[in-house]
């Protein structure tokens, strides 16, 4: 419908000028946050700090406790223990209505009995704002989102994208300390999701409001987030920028969860001395980043598909099983003595199934994991900096 062919300037700077700057600093601090539902622990003990104006992603598979964490920050769920500070103020036990936050629900939760205008003005009415001022603010928000023309429509007939915009309108109209969004694009179809993700991110860049965003879609998290928290089974696996998490996964879970196809693991037994910078795969020595934690036992050699290349000189070899053509690149599946491997190579490389090829790995982007704990034993640049500084 309307969204296929709209030409208006969606992020009109003039419209955003008033709404656009958040008055206060809104840092969110989460300390030892824990949530139990009866005997089940949904969130173990989370610690993280969302910086002011940051776009912060909570990423993880279904049921890992993302929504629970977000709902605790919002005040829709009371933590079992731990602290939540918004803007320096402890809010852990405060009701949602007193936290000055906006929440965007996955199913939008637009009030079905009210029209678009009423929906957007609802949070302002609760503040007892004067009617003319409400009108003004609603119009500003609507302009920012490009929905002035549907203000008087009932929400029941709106397209998914317009519902999404109205939900955002209801969130931004109040100029809250921070935005909390629970899979806000989850109800949209794939094609439209990408475009809304872009709109959301640019809205954030203009308003600069602290945002915590829940998603189970790693691509969405990488595309939009300043920093990402990866969770699994109620435990934080890693916190970092998208590049950090992608290049230096802290655990095998993160390595597998992020990236498509995910990181490859080649399994081997070895004894690793501290600062060791080679390992032995099938009798061949392969150089890596220095090991920060020594140990012996089973390890996994983790390498991303695009960090593998063919090198006839390399003694470490694999046999080509198949290739999947993707236009600019192709995914080549191989069998090596240590397990199967997927490599992302340029589409124009000639592949002959059954061939044995020499393999080279980008050593600075290889991560070694301890198979037992699943934790990385190679140092990340963060650790390097700590050590050197």
């Amino acid at each position: 419908m309307s969204f296929i062919c709209f030409e208006y300037d969606l992020w009109d700077m003039r419209a955003s000028a008033d709404i656009g700057d958040c008055g206060s600093m809104a840092e969110i601090v989460v300390r030892n946050l824990r949530k139990e539902f009866g005997a089940f622990t949904a969130v173990q003990s989370s610690d993280f700090v969302v910086a002011d104006k940051e776009f912060f992603m909570l990423l993880g598979p279904s049921g890992c406790g993302k929504t629970t964490t977000l709902r605790m920050i919002a005040g829709l769920e009371l933590p079992t223990s731990g602290q939540i500070l918004i803007d320096g103020e402890e809010v852990g036990q405060k009701p949602a209505s007193q936290r000055d936050i906006a929440f965007v629900f996955q199913m939008f939760a637009l009030y079905p009995h009210l029209n678009v205008r009423k929906n957007i003005s609802y949070p302002l009415i609760s503040q007892g704002m004067h009617r003319s001022e409400i009108q003004e603010k609603v119009l500003e928000a609507a302009k920012l989102l490009g929905i002035e023309d549907i203000l008087n429509r009932p929400v029941s007939g709106l397209s998914g994208g317009d519902r999404q915009r109205v939900a955002l309108g209801r969130a931004i109209v109040r100029n809250p300390k921070c935005f909390l969004m629970d899979e806000p694009l989850g109800a949209l179809d794939a094609e439209f999701r990408e475009r809304m993700a872009g709109e959301l991110r640019s809205m954030h860049d203009q308003m600069g409001a602290t945002t915590v965003y829940v998603t189970h879609d790693q691509r969405e998290a990488m595309q939009m987030g300043d920093r990402i928290v990866v969770m699994n089974h109620g435990v934080i696996e890693q916190i970092g920028t998208p590049q950090d998490i992608y290049d230096y996964p802290a655990t095998m879970f993160v390595a597998e969860f992020i990236g498509s196809p995910p990181m490859n693991f080649l399994f081997f037994e070895d004894t690793l001395a501290p600062e060791a910078d080679t390992i032995t795969l099938n009798g061949q020595s392969i150089s890596i980043r220095p090991v920060s934690t020594a140990g012996r036992g089973s390890f996994a050699f983790g390498v991303r598909p695009e960090h593998i290349s063919f090198d006839d000189m390399s003694p470490y070899r694999g046999r080509i099983d198949a290739t999947e053509y993707l236009g600019t690149t192709q995914i080549v599946t191989m069998t090596t003595p240590n397990g199967s491997l997927k490599a992302r190579l340029a589409a124009d490389i000639k592949i002959i199934v059954g061939d044995s090829v020499g393999l080279a790995f980008r050593k600075e982007l290889v991560t070694i994991f301890d198979c037992e704990s699943g934790v990385a034993v190679t140092s990340s640049p963060d650790q390097d900096r700590q050590r050197n500084g």
């Binding site: 949602a96 629900f105 199913m107 939760a109 009030y111 079905p112 009995h113 609802y122 949070p123 609760s126």
Partner: protein, 310 residues
């Protein structure tokens, strides 16, 4: 194409006829009552029954008045001043005063709507609590509430009769409102809980985040969305308390008597006054019908709303 649609059309026609036939069968007693209300007493008991007759308001006048027979002389000295006095005058009678029908009808209105309001009001609050809060022994409580409807209410008539007598509730409006509310409440709680369960929790949570209190969220977000459920529950409650006969006979006789036990006692001069009884029954139908028609809009809106949402 026509070969496909033709049988359908015939089926449609057949189904339509069936519905019309069924409607006629069920509506016939109603038509009979309404028409009897406009007959003269002799027409009303004529055999074979009169389908065509000269309509008269005699039944309605008899319903609302008490009359006495007077001498020719008295009648001549007191000529009728309006159409209904004329009607009575022609039978050799004069109007002595109003009948009790108006009072009884008014009692029905107070007790019927009063108990409906109370049932729906309490039912909505209880249903909301059962739907949203963690209530200890929730399932047992809900079962207990339902179990009060597992026997016919009249089975406890005697204990209630004795209880009402010792509490001084016999033949009072408050007593009847309480009784009908007690009977209706379990139905109201169960019906409304179903409707409130259907309203996603997110709406209330959104309202909480938008700065409203729990109660405001209930009033401004849940209630408007529960109108369908509230309207249909109200209709069920009203139909029960409006038509209830057995308890009304047992517990009311004077000041709080409702219309159902009163209507059959309308006795005319020289035998049962069937047109007056029929007139009383016809008028008695009106409030429930008006109420249902008024609330029908909400029912229909609720139904189409659900269709859009799913």
């Amino acid at each position: 194409m026509s070969s496909i649609t033709e049988p359908r059309q015939t089926w449609k026609l057949a189904a339509g006829l069936l519905v019309v036939f069924y409607a006629l069968v069920t509506l016939l007693p109603l038509l009979w009552i309404i028409s009897t209300g406009f007959k003269t007493p002799s027409d009303s008991i004529a055999y074979p029954p009169k389908i065509l007759f000269e309509p008269t308001f005699e039944g309605y006048v008899n319903l609302f008045t008490t009359q006495t027979r007077q001498s020719e002389e008295f009648l001549a000295n007191n000529p009728p001043t309006n159409w209904y006095e004329q009607l009575v005058h022609d039978k050799g009678m004069v109007i002595a005063g109003p009948s009790r029908y108006g009072e009884r009808f008014f009692n029905s209105l107070i007790i019927g709507f009063g108990s409906t309001f109370l049932s729906v009001f309490l039912g909505t609050l209880a249903a909301y609590a059962f739907s949203r809060y963690r209530v200890p022994l929730k399932d047992d409580l809900l079962f207990f509430i339902l179990s009060t409807r597992m026997m016919p209410p009249i089975a406890v008539a005697i204990p209630i009769f004795l209880m009402f007598r010792s509490l001084g509730l016999s033949d009072t409006h408050a007593g009847m409102i309480l009784l009908y509310t007690a009977v209706n409440l379990s139905l109201a709680v169960w019906l409304l809980k179903g409707f409130i369960d259907e309203i996603p929790l997110e709406y209330e949570e959104a309202a909480l985040i938008d700065g409203y209190t729990r109660f405001q969220a209930f009033r401004k977000v849940v209630l408007p969305q529960a109108t369908t459920g509230i309207a249909s529950t109200a209709i069920f409650c009203l139909i029960f308390s409006w038509n209830e006969y057995a308890f009304a006979v047992l517990l009311t006789s004077g000041s709080a008597q409702t219309a159902p036990p009163f209507i059959p006692t309308i006795i005319g001069v020289g035998g049962q006054d069937w047109p007056a009884v029929a007139a009383g029954a016809t008028l008695f139908l009106v409030p429930v019908m008006v109420f249902t028609i008024l609330l029908r809009k909400h029912l229909l809106r609720g139904i189409t709303f659900g269709a859009v949402r799913k």
